[in-house]
Subunit: 246 residues, 2 copies
Amino acid sequence: MNIRLLIEYDGASFCGWQRQSNGPSIQAEIERVIERVTGRAIPIQGAGRTDAGVHARGQVASFIVDSNIAAHRWSHVLNDHLPRTIRIVKSDEVAQNFHPQKHAVAKEYEYLILNRPVAGALNPRVYFVPRPINWARVGEALPQFLGEHDFKAFQGARATVLNTVRTISSFTLVQRGDGYYAFRVVGNGFLKQQVRAMAGTLVEIGLGKRDIGDIERILRSKDRKQAGHTAPGCGLTLIRVYYPGE
Amino acid sequence: MNIRLLIEYDGASFCGWQRQSNGPSIQAEIERVIERVTGRAIPIQGAGRTDAGVHARGQVASFIVDSNIAAHRWSHVLNDHLPRTIRIVKSDEVAQNFHPQKHAVAKEYEYLILNRPVAGALNPRVYFVPRPINWARVGEALPQFLGEHDFKAFQGARATVLNTVRTISSFTLVQRGDGYYAFRVVGNGFLKQQVRAMAGTLVEIGLGKRDIGDIERILRSKDRKQAGHTAPGCGLTLIRVYYPGE
């Protein structure tokens, strides 16, 4: 059986989605629990890596298992052993050839900013910017990201992807009240740290450090040094992965 | 100078707003810091007590101080020494006779519920109800709370208030997506644990344990045992305290 998992996690206590040697990862935690339950080391495939500190409400992963546990029961079985900062929201059976990364047609991210003089007591999953941002400027600049572009200038260092062309189908700014502002972005795929570099560049435009028209120039340059800072991972949440027919 | 504070706090690590002997309170934390800054023990007045575990985005308090610190600087001065789970969002000077509790004309609370089979990894400030709630039933029942009523049946045990008549001017249910539902309630004042008892009763109606028309009967009974359970404090947030002219 090929079991698909819908996963929510608080990235604060993990070094990212992917299994690695320098700290606990979400992938390794789930694989550890699957091994505990089945007695076998079974690798899971994720829809994409998230960086250290990045959260998810709708990460997707899958694994092939031979077991008499019903597909919808896997969420409960795994949750019983996972830390509270990782929850399997749903589990179901998918086709044998389903691959969460290769078959994904789009992803949706949210980047949350708290923009007021004083930090928050309630929400640690936010990028706190105390200096006043001109949000009208940000809203004016933002549509430059829409459509198909070579996003090489917004790709994190040491990335190894060859094709850096991606398409952004939706990019909106939502004011939540009390100083909270969220970027919601949907695209057919994102480069390493792309959303965070786009958020950092938009913040710099809002702070008056950059011209509103800078984004088109940065895209053309294909030079990471031209774009703004990489906004911190704590403000980023993977909201949803889309598959054909959804 | 009479300094007014607008306060945000995560109630999880406190035994409530009010100073008490069995654990750390928000009031005691702020008074400790004021004493550290001024060298004097100065009591602060809050707009109202919040129970253990209850949060605030807009608690109001004030204190009389003779100091050369400008009114708007107090938020920064106090934040420098307060734990991160308490933030003074704003400070300003008010009239000498301003009293945050006596002059309050209304308060607004939010009660947040996560209603899905699996608990959340991201938001601990929520009442998790795994069994499916019929939210249409809840929405139908809720208007019975509107207007002026004797809320004695919704008052927590060992409360000492004599007049238990209060007026609720607004009570709405907001669906947030992904299983999150919020009650927003505005009233001229609330009895001890009143919002939590109202939330608990509405949840029981939504679970089919009670009739939709139960609330009017419970109000008439003035008997705490007739109302539903007290929903946990972790789901409750004091959003705002209203003063004349606001």
